[in-house]
């Protein structure tokens, strides 16, 4: 979990390292242009070229290091950035030294490096800007000493130089440069701090969010495991009770009388109901926790309808309900056959439950080029208008269902909706009290497996 957070800021720093490399290439390009210019003017600038070559070389090295490894730890990347930045400062120092020391026009490179370090590469290590300043100050003091000893000529001073004038000139320039740099450093430091404060705050919030996300994922996984375990733990005893009862009921272990058989059949029937409720609850939890996946396969959708009707045939016959199917000629689609069968079973089962004796149920399917449209229509008791919006919610049951004593836990429709939505489709209902109910679903046609 922590690794993820580290990765984020490490990636951030890697990006900065890379930008440093690009900037250096740009500087090299600029250096070459300047060299070309002085070459045309006939000036001798071989040393500058040498410096440009040196920068190019260590920049190539930096780039090579960047590419050679996929993953970096935070410490490594900071050390790399720091190392190459020290080289940059040295290169700038050499350039300044070569082009006239105190008189060099290139002293502006130090502010540039400060800006880069302060706002870019070092970011939360803003105080490192101060190191650059310290280095610069020492460097300039050194130059001052050198100039004082007249080891290198000072350009721009008057032709007639007395030691006093010389000293004054050098001193003025040096002080000016150092003061400007210090002011500049202070400004950069201040703004860098300001910016980075917000950045720190943001990345802290970011880390917290990531952690919460991970925790949520963990909870999701725990829930899945829990569902699987509960499922297993409930199914085994259910299997034992059911089988033991049916062994007695089937007279495998001896004769029983008719009353005993009747009681046992009732018990077994209710155990089957219990099993179905258990399945519904598990399915519904799986759908809400996102654990249910659909696996599309090439399927004859007419066969799915036939299978569902076949399963519920007896139930319909008991209420003398007629089931009619209107099916398309070509019926090959890519859906999850198991899940879609459950949709049909649930919807047809509902229709049977809420239709009076001798009613009629019509199942129709239509396939168009990019849609599968199915409907299950009955002429049963219907649904009150105000109950329709909540109908597909979990554990919601119609009032009439309670009054009629129809059994159920109110999960069937929410499961249907879940499965249809996993197929990226829509399901809705049209109903009039005492006239009938029509459930309609539309699925987009997808031509893929999996």
């Amino acid at each position: 979990m922590n690794d993820n957070n580290e990765d984020l800021s490490t990636q951030d720093f890697k990006q900065r390292y890379l930008w440093g490399i690009y900037l250096r290439y740009a500087a090299v390009g600029l250096g070459l242009l300047l060299y070309g210019y002085s070459f045309l003017l006939g000036e001798k600038a071989g040393a500058t070229l040498l410096l440009v070559v040196a920068i190019t070389l260590y920049n190539l090295l930096a780039h090579y290091i960047y590419r050679s490894k996929q993953k970096y730890r935070m410490g490594e990347i900071v050390v790399l950035i720091g190392f190459f930045q020290v080289l940059d400062i040295l290169a700038a120092a050499v350039l300044v030294g070569m082009t006239g020391g105190l008189e060099s026009p290139y002293w502006f490179l130090y502010p540039v490096l400060m800006i880069i370090s302060g706002f870019g590469t070092f970011s939360r290590y803003s105080y490192l800007v101060l190191f650059i300043v310290a280095f610069t100050v020492i460097f300039y003091l050194g130059l001052l000493g050198i100039a004082f000893k007249q080891l290198i000529p000072v350009f721009g001073s008057s032709l007639v130089i007395t030691p006093q004038v010389l000293l004054k000139t050098i001193f003025n320039r040096a002080i000016f440069t150092i003061v400007v740099l210090l002011l500049f450093a202070a400004t950069v430091y201040y703004f860098s701090k300001l910016i980075n404060q917000n950045r720190e705050l943001l990345s802290k919030k970011n880390r917290e969010l990531l952690r919460t996300l991970e925790e949520l994922k963990d909870i999701g996984r725990m829930k899945d495991d829990f569902i699987t375990n509960v499922s297993h733990e409930l199914r085994t005893p259910l299997a034992i009770v059911r089988e033991n009862l049916s062994l007695i009921e089937d007279r495998v272990v001896g004769e029983i009388n008719e009353k005993q058989r009747y009681l046992l059949a009732g018990a077994r029937g209710n155990l089957d109901n219990l099993g179905e409720i258990l399945n519904s609850i598990l399915d519904s939890s799986k759908i809400t926790s996102g654990a249910l996946e659909i696996r599309r396969r090439k399927t004859d959708i007419n066969l799915l309808v036939a299978k569902a009707v076949d399963l519920l045939k007896d139930k319909a016959q008991r209420k003398a309900i007629e089931i009619e199917t209107i099916l398309p000629e070509k019926s090959s689609v890519y859906v999850d056959p198991d899940q879609l069968t459950r949709v049909f079973v649930n919807l047809i089962d509902n229709a049977i439950k809420y239709t009076q004796k001798s009613g009629r149920i019509t199942i129709s399917l239509e396939l168009s080029e990019n849609e599968i449209r199915g409907s299950i229509c009955d002429n049963g008791i219907g649904i009150d208008e105000q109950e329709i919006p909540l109908l597909f919610e979990r554990f919601v049951r119609a009032k009439k269902a309670e009054e009629m004593g129809v059994k159920g836990v109110g999960l069937g429709l929410s499961i249907c909706k879940g499965i249809i939505e996993l197929h990226r489709g829509k399901i809705w209902v049209e109903s009039k009290p005492n006239q009938g109910t029509k459930f309609i679903f539309v699925l987009p046609r997808v031509e893929v497996d999996g």
Partner: protein, 127 residues
Amino acid sequence: MDNKKPKILIIEDENNIAEALRLRLEANGYDVITSSDGVEGLHKAHTERPDLIILDIRLPKMDGYKVCRMIKFDEEYSSTTVIILTARIQPSDIAMGKEVGADEYMTKPYRSEELLAKIKQYLAAEN
């Protein structure tokens, strides 16, 4: 072969289920042997040469997938029918059952009529 009862091996650690299955199968004219862990079950599958095996997944010592694989991927025994009977209903478990070569994957709670029909069908195909 006709006058000899088909032999069925039940590998199941839940005694209640094993006993219920035994009663049901014996009442339907099968010879039944049982085993309550994976290692012993595999051993019995090798020594007793049953015609059909009813196999649980969660078993002590060796899980049902492994037992199934050791039977189905062994040329000498691969013709034995294996029916997995388990409380696991995850699609991944069912896929795993197919992968290790089981002939049938059934879930608990099972319907004995269904199980008997499958057994009959597989034994008829074997002969």
